[in-house]
Amino acid sequence: MEQHNKDQVLSENNNNKCQDPNPRFTFEGCNVLLDVNDGDRLVFARLSGGSTLKIGNTKYSLKPLIGAPFGSLFQVETGEDVSFLSRILPVKKEESISNNVIEDSRDNRELIDNNEAQNLTEEEIETMRREGAKGDEIIEALIANSKTFDKKFQLSQEKYKLKKQKKYAPKVLLRRPFARSICEAYFKKYPARIGFLRVDALSLLLTMANVTAYSDVLVVDMVGGLVTGAVAERLGGTGYVCNTFKGNSPPSVDMVKMFNFTDKVIERIVQSSINDLSSAKTVLSPEGGVCNAEININESSTCDIVEDVSVTAEARVVDDVVPVSKVIKAPKAGAKASKEAVEMWKENGFSSLIMAAQDQDPWSLAKDVLPLLSYSAPFAIYHQYLQPLATCMHNLQQEKMAINLQITEPWLREYQVLTSRTHPHMQMSSFGGYVLSGTRISTT
């Protein structure tokens, strides 16, 4: 145990941070997830000297974020002539804000809903800014000049402060992108691109397919690379995740780029057509080599932007330093699987399977792909429609290809937890997809 602890500490001080599989600090070229104003907007970005984040009408350089620990918080600060992002340390809250809310006897009968409650004009605020007032100072001024602030409930007062803070002193939380956050961000903004695969459904796929180090996981990923990336994250540079497909061109796994994968992990992400994996002998296509046919990773899009719809201010990440020529000789995710690997899988079978193929009939894929698994290998098939999964399950039963078959639909509800005000969120996602799981068996 002691020894183990020391190793942990050592790996923290590892200077080659880019190749640290679990980095706690950002580095140049690192992918990050920026959480603007407490989840109002999520933006993926690659940190480089020239990359910027646009909040409101202003572009802020992301340079101050390089080398900062994941989890650190930045706030817009107004300097001499430019405003910039600057690291802030959160103030420790002495006691929770809402402890004495119950005794609050104020109500809103005297509040009039118009815009005349604020004495400060936009111009006056602008002047304050130009004169270098900090965001927090502006907020204080706004409160002092609000006719209604004192009359508001304590809760509404908090809300008022927060609203003003978001506008005049926006905060940016620096987060490490994980399968969890990538899935959530996409589900929020572009659910159709990932086949409405909600994070709880994704988590089920990974467990039901027993994804773990040293396993060889076969995937059919038609959700942009989300499943491939999530599997690779759990393999940690061991085993393989092999993306298989019908026909000749593998689907894009672009989303893999949003994870901060080390070369070691990237090398374990390969692809091979169903034909190549099924044929009795390995006939590799002409180029035959180990690592050349890369999956259509679009070089021009170094950052993907996921923004919340409900944002008050427009924002967007611009990365101006993306010379394609500068591409270093790093391994690419989705290289063609080597001949040796394909041979190995033919001999031993894959250890599990995950399918997430939008707009494909699961049965017509499963009947070709399932035989590539070892006996006793678990599998999980995702689909956003129930009926094709039911048919698939029925056919697997009829053909005696699998046992332990089950179709499940995950259900996820979030709660607001506050003193005397705990209840489920008013809005919830009512659909995150269906999962058919089972275990492959030997038919003999």
């Binding site: 602890n5 969890r180 006793s376 678990p378 039911a390 030997s442």
Partner: protein
């Protein structure tokens, strides 16, 4: 159970060996863990099975009893283990387990602390997630439960990844020697709020904590304590709805010629789906004797777990 030992990895060629742990599968709701021994015999309502007949066969195959009835022998996985382990306490099931592992951002190499160990259901999945280089430190104040859990981890072959210690976590907190080393902490305790300050000390900055509690009052108190050191405090409830799938004869007067086409090419194109919904379904087969057709249909099972617990997650604030 985990393929970290390449001898133990699944393969078409690897046969069952003396000493292997297998899951004997009768039905999806009748399974049993069995340690294979040369002279072992398994007895169930179908007769008896000699282990010696199993040795050398690949996993995932049928084996027969003296009366010619068969069962399947499966490789153990954390999911199967959760279904067959002996319950010494309430345990976490697959929906909560999956969500916890994902939300705690547990990846290979992570150090995870857990209390209480209970029956080791969650610990087994945590071990799978931190393998091959990470570690799970699990604590329970109940001496006998800790001992049983250790035996189980030995049997499932994950004992190199999980250390079980006897300790009152609510009273004493986690051991000082693990301070600042944990990537994530999981609490399944009756009064989790008592353990939160210690959990905060154990976590690396930006590390994630999860507390599982059946009652909302527990959640309430835990959240109050969390607010001083943690951010992104979020509480969830996760459930699974399972579906029953049946092929049934249904009376129909609809034209079914089109559905047959669909069957031939293996499924519908999305554009046709609406069109076909008149027939209820596209997986239709003829029954020549009448105007009844066989249709595969799905509906939710009538009974389901309605509540397990609330999962509260929080991220340790970054102060340095």
């Amino acid at each position: 159970m985990l393929p970290t030992d390449s001898n133990k990895a699944l393969s078409f060629k690897r046969g069952i060996q003396d000493g292997d742990l297998v899951i004997v599968y009768e039905r999806h709701d009748v399974m049993k863990p069995v340690k294979v021994t040369k002279d072992g015999v398994l007895q169930n309502r179908f007769g008896f099975y000699k282990h010696s007949d199993w040795i050398g066969k690949p996993l995932g195959t049928k084996v027969f009893s003296n009366k010619g009835k068969f069962v399947y022998l499966l490789a153990p996985t954390p999911e199967l283990w959760t279904l067959v382990l002996s319950h010494r306490t309430q345990i976490l099931y697959i929906a909560d387990i999956s969500f916890v592992v994902m939300y705690l951002e547990v990846v290979p190499g992570c150090v995870v602390l857990e209390s209480g160990t209970g029956s080791g259901s969650l610990s087994t999945s945590l071990a799978r997630a931190v393998a091959p280089t990470g570690h799970v430190y699990s604590f329970d104040y109940h001496e006998q439960r800790a001992a049983c859990a250790r035996e189980d981890f030995e049997m499932t072959g994950i004992s190199s990844l999980v250390t079980v210690e006897v300790r009152d976590i609510q009273g004493q907190g986690f051991p000082e020697k693990l301070s600042g080393l944990a990537d994530s902490v999981f609490l399944d305790l009756p009064q989790p709020w008592l353990a939160v300050p210690s959990a905060a000390k154990m976590l690396k900055e930006d590390g994630v904590l999860c507390s599982f509690s059946p009652c909302i009052e527990q959640v309430q108190r835990t959240c109050e304590v969390l607010r001083s050191d943690f951010i992104e405090i979020r509480t969830f409830e996760v459930l699974l709805r399972t579906y029953e799938v049946k092929e049934m004869k249904v009376e129909t007067v609809a034209v079914i010629g089109e559905s047959q086409d669909e069957e031939d090419n293996g499924g519908p194109r999305p554009s046709k789906r609406k069109h076909l919904s008149n027939n209820g379904d596209y997986a239709v087969s003829h029954d020549n004797s009448s105007n009844a057709t066989s249709v595969v249909m799905a509906r939710p099972c009538s009974e389901a777990r309605g509540h397990t617990g609330y999962l509260t997650f929080a991220r340790l604030q970054c102060l340095s």
